[in-house]
């Protein structure tokens, strides 16, 4: 693979150029100290923060928390009008876990037929990721095989070599950018490549968490008895849905009609979560899932078992965000540790 070098001084000038081709979204630290993916309007006033993990992933940019699918009116029949909302966007500074999550969403949203709303935005997105040379507090992407650096999936991947960025392209769109803005890049030397390799190695050994994802998956596949874990974690779950909302790969949604007046309304798609009892409760009140003891069963089994069977990899990308957000400590790291602490047993 051919690498290139971008001097750090040239980062903002390059981004300024890229922004002419569409909206530019990057992690920006706001005045309250929170880092969020934000559209850049003004390079002088918005501080691109490449040191901290963005609080939320890029999920909402492709799959918004709430989006209108159609507006409708039922005066003469029941007329639906699609709502259009998408623009070319360059995403800069997303991390490997976030990118892996997008690749996962690509699969989920093309199950039976491609989801038009998702792919409209996805098609218009350029993804420029930044490998994590210093993993954050709750990260375990090395254990979930989604980082800290990726081999594929990005348009461009940046690696921070200290004084400059090492830049590589995986997809045609990335190659095009390198070519179009070649004035900013110089070909990487062999030494640069060695330095890059060194950074990757060091990153791999600097994780603060060791989470044996594979071991847990093996145990889950063997169908061990998890009832005690479900009970304990379900009674700690406070039903806020924060884990699903913050999770870059939680894609469950609901569709509801929001009336505007008697005859008009909007059909909305909104995020939903399998931890909510209303998620499975049927009209009339019967609920096929016992939420008192199993509120979080689906969440963990879906990510670590069902998706492994279906897609060959867990859908947890090891970003650690659920660890930070949960009120009750019902997070992926705790779950995996609990599973791994259970005595091994023969399959039921």
């Amino acid at each position: 693979m051919n690498g290139f070098i971008l001097k750090k001084d040239n980062l903002v000038p390059l981004l300024r150029k890229l922004r002419k081709g569409g909206r530019l979204v990057a992690p920006v630290q706001n005045r309250h100290g929170d880092t969020m993916f934000t559209a850049i309007e003004d390079f002088d006033r918005q501080h691109i923060d490449l040191k901290n993990q963005a609080q939320a992933s890029l999920k909402p940019f492709f799959f918004p928390q709430e989006e209108p699918l159609y507006t409708y009116q039922n005066k003469k029949g029941y007329d639906f009008k699609p709502v259009n909302s998408s623009e070319p966007t360059i995403f800069f500074g997303l991390r490997s876990c976030d990118l892996t999550a997008i690749l996962y969403m690509d699969v989920i949203f093309s199950q039976k037929s491609p989801d038009p709303f998702y792919f409209e935005r996805r098609r218009e997105a350029v993804l420029i990721s930044l490998g994590c040379s210093r993993p954050f507090a709750n990260c375990f992407c090395n254990n979930s095989r989604s980082g800290p650096f990726l081999e594929y999936g990005f348009d461009l991947q940046f690696t921070d070599l200290g004084h400059c960025f090492f830049v590589e392209a995986d997809r045609a769109r990335g190659e095009e950018l390198l070519e179009r803005w070649s004035c900013y890049f110089t070909p990487a030397t062999e030494e640069d490549c060695r330095n890059k390799y060194q950074v990757v190695l060091e990153a791999r050994s600097s994780f603060k968490q060791t989470v044996h994802v594979d071991q847990a998956i093996k145990k889950l596949t063997a169908d061990i008895d998890l009832e005690s874990i479900w009970k304990e974690l379900s009674s700690r779950c406070q039903d806020c849905g924060g884990c699903a909302y913050i999770c870059p790969t939680c894609t469950c949604f609901t569709i509801v009609d929001q009336p505007v007046d008697d005859t008009h309304g909007t059909r909305l798609r909104q995020w939903d979560s399998c931890t909510f009892a209303g998620f499975t409760r049927m009209a009339g009140g019967h609920n096929p899932v016992d939420y008192a003891d199993h509120a979080i069963r689906r969440r963990f089994l879906h990510k670590l078992k069902t998706d492994v069977e279906k897609h060959g990899r867990p859908s947890c990308v090891g970003c650690g965000r659920c660890v930070g957000i949960c009120f009750g400590g019902v997070d992926m790291i705790r779950f995996i540790k609990m599973v791994n602490e259970l005595p091994a047993e023969e399959g039921k």
């Binding site: 039922n74 029941y78 639906f80 199950q111 792919f119 409209e120 009336p259 005859t263 499975t280 009209a283």
Partner: protein, 269 residues
């Protein structure tokens, strides 16, 4: 790329058949005539039904594709959307998306003796299957066990009369009898005792979870293998195409992997 996967087609209510105080059957025709004439589906599949301001809900076909031209959906009054549907009149429009779901594998059932066990609204999807069998022919002896709460709750009585005329063994049961009821009293599973179905055979079940639960051991005792016990499930659903997640059942999604499952499939997770 088509934006249509969530876009309902308008359909007009041609006829409303009150089946019992809680269940109405809606006979529907798509407004777009070309669409209507090319529309096809299979027994066991379902449609996502839209009513303005109420969103969508999955409803199984209670009609058979052997009688094209219109479709029938039988709706039990249960929540907001079904409540709104029950308010609709002839000529009103509803939105429909579909068909969705894995159907009954009708050709694998041919030449077999078929035992249908239904409770309440559970007869709706099986009604389509029974009529399909009658129309197509080539199936073995058909037996129907149908349970209702009370005599007034017995739905699809017109169909049942017709089926009896056509030689289907229809046995009805009610949980609690009322005056004038001479038939069987007890949960529908009690009808299974003493029933003998000759091989090759399959049973098709649909009803409340508690009915299914009590049927399964009985059917096994009667010699039905897991693959010969087929049920269709009802779940809360939003998309119908395996994305939204609401209808999960262990590692499956009822909307695409089902709603029709045989017991062997349900046991494998």
């Amino acid at each position: 790329m088509s934006r249509d996967i969530y876009l309902p087609q308008m359909a007009r209510i041609e006829k409303i058949i009150p089946e019992n105080p809680q269940i109405k059957t809606f006979v529907l025709c798509f407004v777009d005539e070309d669409f209507n004439s090319s529309f096809s589906y299979e027994p066991g599949q379902f449609m996502m039904v839209s009513v303005p301001h109420c969103g969508e809900a999955p409803i199984s076909f209670s009609s058979t594709p052997t009688r094209p031209g219109n479709i029938e959906l039988s709706v039990r009054l249960a929540g907001k959307l079904t409540g709104a549907m029950h308010e609709l009149r002839l000529g009103d429009l509803v939105g429909l998306r579909g068909p969705f779901g894995t159907p009954f594998t009708m050709d694998k059932l041919s030449d077999r003796n078929l035992l249908f066990v239904a409770g309440g609204i559970g007869l709706a999807p099986l009604r389509g299957v029974i009529n399909y069998c009658l129309d197509k022919g080539g199936y073995g002896k058909i037996t129907l066990l149908y349970g209702s709460r009370a005599p007034d709750d017995i739905a699809f009585s017109a169909d049942i009369k017709l089926w009896q005329k056509k030689g289907i063994d229809c046995q009805l049961s009610v949980d609690t009898a009322a005056e004038g009821w001479n038939g069987h009293v007890g949960v529908v599973t009690t009808l299974l005792a003493g029933l003998e179905i000759e091989n090759p055979k399959s049973s098709l079940l649909c009803g409340p979870p508690i009915m299914i639960k009590f049927c399964l051991p009985e059917l096994s005792k009667m010699g039905f293998t897991d693959k010969e016990i087929i049920t269709t499930m009802e779940r809360h659903m939003k998309c119908g195409i395996g994305v939204c997640g609401h209808c999960y059942l262990d590692n499956k999604l009822v909307c695409v992997d089902g709603p029709v499952f045989d017991l062997a499939q349900l046991k494998a997770h």
